[in-house]
Amino acid sequence: MKADEIIKKALEEGRTKLLEHEALEIVKLYGASVADFGFARTPEEAGDVAEKIGYPVVVKVVSPDISHKTDVGGVVLRLKSRDEVVGAAKKIIENVSVRQPGARITGFLVQKMAPPGLEVIVGGTRDPVFGPVVMFGLGGIFVEILRDVTFRVTPVTLQDALEMMIEIRSAKLLEGYRGQPPVDKNALAKIIVAVSDMMEAHSEIVSVDLNPIMAYSSGALVVDSRVIVGRVR
């Protein structure tokens, strides 16, 4: 599906939040590298998808009614075989039926576990004065407590994106510390530009959170994507 089809479908179905696989698909379409994933309707299908992706994987419930997947037992990590995947998906159905009865289950997101890296966040939102803006920051306490983030008004170029990485107070962490190699800034810049391009191209996109993104010495992977859409004013 193309990006505008994904958005159109969501809006037609009355959803303002894209489903997990849709949100990942759309950033992938704009050139961001995303941890391998697939969508499955049933536990058996989840097993098939996992076989294709390779292990270890994580299975997450996909539902328009559930906003905190972990709280309802809708996420199972570190699955290493087809059997484990099918079992986990069945277990998720059971968990949801107990903890949030009545919630619709569209299916399952099966995603390759991304190796640990430096966690960063890239986002997009619409500012009443400046229009679409993109954000960059380090994940975890840096964004939650120190609010150490920086913005750019779109359209954002690769050069702008690289400047954003110098601008945050915790910029030195990107250069590597305690023997860690520096992260691949160009890979992160590509993700920032992807969010800028998305926001520019689709006025229905209200906001984007790519959180976390795992940054490595070579490459970076978007692990979780949250995209909110709405009718254009």
Binding site: G123, D127, V129, G131, V133, G137, F151, V153
Partner: protein, 461 residues
């Protein structure tokens, strides 16, 4: 397009009056004092105001009128503007209040009407509800504050765009008191037409403006992108210093996402300033510190600062401040060290800071600065001349005024009472910025460095 506000050949003042204490009188007084074009006071109750022939309406004025200044009550403004339109006036500065800012339907209606009239006649408008324009070069002065209450700064090269009229007046009065020169100041009140973006474009091309200072409360909704674009273009021509008022987060807005929650008003502005390569002043002190350094100093080619001092302690304070603002205070190169050794008494310190000590005199300072000015490995010179020492008699300060034209930034630190104040004024009026605080000097010099890098390399270094 905006030229008419700054260089009109004729001005009509609607609401002119000889009555003491009235805005309409101050306007006439101020134009009479400084403006060299034709002045037409408009008031049907007088045939003469402060020695000038008065007219009953704009239509009665015999010659052409370029600019009209309106200070009559809000309900009369649409009529006056229409008349101006018929006369072929191209610009109007509407001082009068009583429009949208009142929050009343009547005020809003009047403002809408004024907007319509200005569009249909093609009259550009500054205001309403503003103090308008003050141009020290052309003498246009609609700041309706009498000179004895608000001094006018001397002619100079700092121009000011201010969303707040009161702040602009206070700033100008303060600048006048400290001898800082200015070119133009504009406060546009409700900004129904001319806004900060267009003014930035105008001032970018204005020859007497070397630095633009913008006091900003907020850009209009949807205009942010244009602001970034224009500010970036202008920054490539001359430095723009912005102070953003209202930095605290807008509370209580339910945010749709993590990013939206972090995108507080100020956070986005701050990033937009970076993106447009304007320099942000984050405190009142910084506004003038940055403006006075940027308006007087040549570009700083690198970050190497040499300090020449007669006070070791201030030298150390300066070094700390400069380094913490990203500048370098490098070791004196060996050939310079030798040259200094051979010319200075043995007790002087030839490292950097170069400490000439308390028995220094004007000549000792001058010899050393002369050496530094000739070197390619010196990017800026800071002279710490505490005037309390007996050897300083003043020739140093006259020398600095000449040395400032030799291609390198030169700043001074002078601390003290009357004597210090006298030298400070001499230097500042001659374009050598003087600071009491080493920290403030360092911050301002680092802004010059950042701006120079933007000009020389297209980006911060």
């Amino acid at each position: 397009m905006l030229e008419v506000f700054f260089n009109p050949s004729s001005v009509a003042i609607v609401g002119a009056t000889p009555k003491e204490g009235k805005v309409g009188r101050v306007l006439v007084e101020n134009f009479k004092k400084w403006f060299r074009g034709k002045i037409y006071p408009i008031n049907p109750h007088y045939t003469e105001i402060l020695g000038l022939r008065a007219y009953g309406s704009i239509g009665e004025v015999p010659g052409p009128v370029d600019l009209v200044v309106i200070a009559t009550p809000a309900p009369t403004v649409p009529g006056v503007l229409k008349e101006a339109g018929e006369k072929g006036v191209r610009g109007a500065i509407i001082i009068s209040g009583g429009f949208r800012e009142t929050g009343t339907p009547e005020g809003e209606r009047l403002e809408e009407e004024v907007k319509q009239i200005s569009r249909s006649y093609g009259i550009r408008v500054i205001g309403p509800n503003c103090i308008g324009v003050l141009d020290r070069w052309s003498g246009v002065d609609t700041f309706f504050l009498p000179e004895e209450k608000m001094k006018r700064p001397p002619k100079g090269h700092i121009s000011i765009i201010s969303q707040s009229g009161a702040f602009a007046s206070a700033l100008l009065d303060w600048m006048a008191y400290h001898g800082y020169g200015m070119s133009k100041a504009i406060s546009f009140g409700n900004k129904i037409d001319v806004d900060e973006i267009e003014l930035l474009e105008y001032l970018a091309k204005d020859e007497t403006t070397k630095v633009i200072f913008v006091y900003l409360e907020g850009v209009k909704e949807g205009k942010g992108k244009l602001f970034v674009k224009v500010a970036k273009e202008v920054s490539a021509i001359k430095p723009v210093v912005v102070y953003k008022a209202g930095k605290t987060a807008r509370g209580g807005v339910a945010a749709a996402s993590h990013t939206a929650a972090l995108a507080g008003n100020y956070e986005v502005y701050r990033s937009a300033f970076r993106q447009s390569q304007v320099l942000e002043a984050v405190s009142f002190d910084e506004i003038m510190d940055l403006a006075k350094v940027l308006s007087t100093q040549p570009p700083m080619k690198g970050r190497r600062v040499f300090v020449v001092t007669d006070a070791g302690g201030i030298g150390v304070m300066l070094t700390d401040a400069l380094v913490s603002h990203g500048l370098e205070v490098p070791e004196t190169p060996s050939d310079l060290r030798e040259a200094l050794r051979s010319m200075l008494p043995r007790h002087c310190v030839v490292g950097n800071p170069i400490d000439l000590t308390g028995d220094a005199d004007d000549e000792r300072f001058i010899k050393v600065i002369e050496l530094l000015l000739k070197r390619d490995d010196v990017d800026a010179i800071v002279v710490v001349a505490l005037p309390q020492i007996p050897g300083l008699r003043g020739t140093l300060f006259n020398y600095l005024l000449e040395a400032k034209g030799r291609g390198k930034p030169i700043l001074a630190v002078i601390i003290g009472s009357e004597v210090a104040a006298k030298y400070r004024r001499l230097l500042e009026e001659g374009g050598v910025p003087v600071f009491e605080s080493p920290e403030r000097l360092a911050k301002a010099l680092s802004a010059l460095y950042i701006y120079s890098a933007i000009r020389l390399h297209g980006a911060r270094q």
